[in-house]
Symmetry: C2
Amino acid sequence: MAESLNPEQASPAATREDMANAIRFLAMDAVEKANSGHPGMPMGMADVATVLFTKFLKFDAEHPEWPDRDRFVLSAGHGSMLLYSLLYLTGSEVVDIEQIKDFRQFGSKTPGHPEDFITTGVETTTGPLGQGLANSVGMAMAERMLNARYGDDIVDHFTYVVAGDGCLMEGISHEAISLAGHMKLGRLIVLFDDNHISIDGDTDLAVSDDQLERFRASGWHVARVDGHDPEAIAVAIENARNVTDQPSMIACRTVIGFGAPNKQGTASTHGSALGPDEIAASREKLNWPHAPFEIPKQVLASWRAAGARHRDTYEAWMERAGKLDAAERSALVEPIDEDVAIKIKNAVREAKAQFVAEESKLASRQSSQKMLERLTPLVPHLIGGSADLTGSNGTLTKAHTPITPEDFSGNYIHWGVREHGMAAAMNGMVLHGGFVPYGGTFLVFTDYCRPAIRLSALMKKRVVYVMTHDSIGLGEDGPTHQPVEHLAALRAMPNLNVFRPADSVECAECWEVALLSRTKPSIMALSRQGLPLLRTEATDENLSAKGAYVLREADGERDVTLLGTGSEVLLAVQAAEALAKEGIKAAVVSMPSWELFEAQPAEYRREVLGTAPRVAVEAAMEFGWHKWIGLDGAFVGMSSFGASAPAKDLYNHFNITSEAVSAAARSCLGKD
Amino acid sequence: MAESLNPEQASPAATREDMANAIRFLAMDAVEKANSGHPGMPMGMADVATVLFTKFLKFDAEHPEWPDRDRFVLSAGHGSMLLYSLLYLTGSEVVDIEQIKDFRQFGSKTPGHPEDFITTGVETTTGPLGQGLANSVGMAMAERMLNARYGDDIVDHFTYVVAGDGCLMEGISHEAISLAGHMKLGRLIVLFDDNHISIDGDTDLAVSDDQLERFRASGWHVARVDGHDPEAIAVAIENARNVTDQPSMIACRTVIGFGAPNKQGTASTHGSALGPDEIAASREKLNWPHAPFEIPKQVLASWRAAGARHRDTYEAWMERAGKLDAAERSALVEPIDEDVAIKIKNAVREAKAQFVAEESKLASRQSSQKMLERLTPLVPHLIGGSADLTGSNGTLTKAHTPITPEDFSGNYIHWGVREHGMAAAMNGMVLHGGFVPYGGTFLVFTDYCRPAIRLSALMKKRVVYVMTHDSIGLGEDGPTHQPVEHLAALRAMPNLNVFRPADSVECAECWEVALLSRTKPSIMALSRQGLPLLRTEATDENLSAKGAYVLREADGERDVTLLGTGSEVLLAVQAAEALAKEGIKAAVVSMPSWELFEAQPAEYRREVLGTAPRVAVEAAMEFGWHKWIGLDGAFVGMSSFGASAPAKDLYNHFNITSEAVSAAARSCLGKD
């Protein structure tokens, strides 16, 4: 056994059965009070959780942010009452019994699904199935990566996951499982709640996988136990901990709604309150005569003892961590402290000056690569990667060495063709703490990882998505690979920076904002094709940080304002020059980030946009642009999917040209 | 062997090596001419494809739309030249040698990735990895479902898939494989191009799965062969065909770029032209002295013989099919012919009358369920299903019986927790022909299936997505389950109907449009919460088909126009009533479909929107709304993610109320 302290000894009257039943009744009673929620899963997994939390999990309830705690991820997030019960019972400061009673109510610390940004002690936000499992792969990688940097004295912990049938049916589970096996994540242990029940009914309705064989095929250690046999569970976890070069999966055969005499083992316990009669019957069956939300003193004491049993370990760790130097200590949780931030700002300023001096004409994916080469040595915990498009995305530089199953000291991850798994694992790395990850694929494949991007945004996690080939400029690969609606789809998402830089200078500026946005993920939408330098004068100020700015003012009062982003800003500039020859005064506004522009003071926005008619150009759908151009403005861009052809032919075919911008401007002014 | 006719006998001079080399050189030369594309895969899989197309695949090049043909799906779509070479060589009418020379050029029939809507003979649009594999599961299900209805004489074919490492790394592959195994799709045969190379380099960089064991764990028959040994390939395919109660996967160990003496077996052959020197060296090595795009007469003759060898089978089939009655024959490819369309229209009219008569107050997901109960008996090839949210989505009715591995005669599919697999398999069913599928999940989980929804739209396939719980009205499950940006993200996509009906009558109307939109997929965004009837007068006209219409005209000239969709139209109506009491004349416009409204004549749009200031209300992000409200309009809705609480509390907290709409209207009019 991993622990010498046995809660039964500390509080002889509390049996492990009673400790598990405390979870069950908190779950039943809270769901009943809310008349909403999922009691079946916490009731089924109560025994497994009790073994884990009392015998294995290294944590200290008073210090939920201890960097070297074991991570506990409830991937089957609908069973949130399992987690809230455990937090309350072990002595969480934020989840007290009032919060349990307030389950699923507005403003409580106990929302319907676990939300890490609401409740301290919740490791990640789950509910969308499979995400927690994939997060945990990122956490377990981050653990090894920090371990390679700090050694066993500072980083040495496990990551435990509870996953259900639903998690394992989702596609993302394959990406996570396959990656974890490849990376030989011996400190990742998945407890599969094998209850044979899904919402529609018995899992036999829809799935016949042999999950043990499936995990084994991806290089996992696997075991099967009776999820209501505490000794067997403990042996299985102990064995899993001893397998150091493979992740482990323990299929725990459980009865959903265990203890509800008439409903257990059926889908009716899954997603709704059991009702007063069934709860009363459960109280009788499980010999639990206590009132709702009342936990007998000794049961609570045993749980509290479990929550405090690592206090010495924690304090010893703090002493060791106290010997780290300030930068090391800081990087353990936040890799970009004030010192690093200053280095980033300086590097961006230097890069901009150099781009201007060299009159760079680079695809923005190349400018991005140059920035990464410059920034990586300055931010040692900046971790790169790509979902098997490394060369195309420009994510790898001379400053990188790969992370491999044998050596986690590097800083580049070959994620494989696993966009969704990559994004969710990057979330897991940030949740774990200690790293700023970026990962690349084509912009069109944001669709493949959108659920995880959404969680980056919801959880306020700094993940940088390097999304190249950002328009029909991708060319011959055709409409399956050409994003047209993706900029709009991403801009519509709350708390997400969407950057589309127009040249090398803007690219440098956008990287600065992305890295310094500690509570926001960023999308870098980058061109395949070369872009001439438009910001030809060196400015120390980060103009992109304002979201939009006047790139070229008109010579005199504006007749028209031309708005553009990314590769199409050039078309606006060319149009402005052509219009000037006709005596039409056009200003050009570059808009690398709508979100940042919206956050500017109204006066600045008015100044930039002006009062003249507006024409926007972007090689994408017009969706969303009317916020800037109004009902009377004009838009030059896409109105359909793209096509397969060389990029130049496509721009001509879809009439996204400087001539089209000029014509639209003339038309707005009634001069066509 | 399945075939007695042997191409070598038909044309003694053409060896199978030469036939395979014809594919290799067409691929090399076309990529070289385009200076863009992926030669390595066609070169590696040429031997496998030659065996399949000459010995097994039941097809007739002159009749590429023969309903009972075997389906051939190139899931690894970047290897498009494999498919185009085969089409040309076997005698396709559309892919001639000029098209091969025009590979990846604008307007050609040979785009960068296979596009079914461009090229007859291409079974599905691939490139986004894993999609073709999941389509093929839908095709193989459709085959069994039609077989259960028509018998072996009419429907009796295989579905073959070529998938690469990338397809098998994508999460969607798990959903597809797991589902196919569960459904025991014995006529699905996957040929895995096991070449050990991905774009970043050797697959060892990122993946260590034992693919055979993985497929076996999901109930597949598996085999491993040398992908350059024609006899072994033929034996493996023959064995796979004989396993009737399991899908089959044959791992074909191939050398990517086979025949390129210096580059074969490396990532450098994957995604770019080989260059003239390497192609010259390949000509020497493979003893292929012919000029680019020149196929020796006898090689071509042998291929053409292969493309015609099922002519008798085809003709015999046509004779049998000729004996079907007209409705049966029609339903085999298009389940909604004119007769069925009339039945649908009548049913919708009757339903609307009944909703009005009963003053229905139903959640739109319940209205939808009532429509499905009414429509299903009228459209025998309408197939329902849900990704394990059957009860919540209202997708199952008394008119349904489940499809099971043992009996495909039913009309309801329990898809399991596999949103992405469901969507892609529904695409496959439509591609196969014979069915109109709809499938349900929560609207927020459109993110999980977005790549497949995009392909429904790109391929112009009628798939209906029943997406319920369409706002914060979902309540306690919280922000992970509450869509806020999804309506915008979906509306931004080309060729997709997004419906958000306001009441039962609109719901009925939207279903009519969805089912009759033969070349468009539809999203039905449906409420969890009850909605009172707003269309209280029976109208035969389908007002929702216009996208937006005046639900309540103002009493006199409009002071303000209130726009809304779905559950929030009620708030607009209530606001209009409140404003009327203050003497403010407000019209209410319901906008169940932006796309359909955009397609209306400008005059109608002007009439509906009016010239008065506009206020929009929708429990979603404002993104996109400025197209309707202009720069000066007001929006009442969300500006962040949601929260976990009862729905009513959330509407109040986020200030989406009739009072907020009234206040916004007053503010627009300067009366606040």
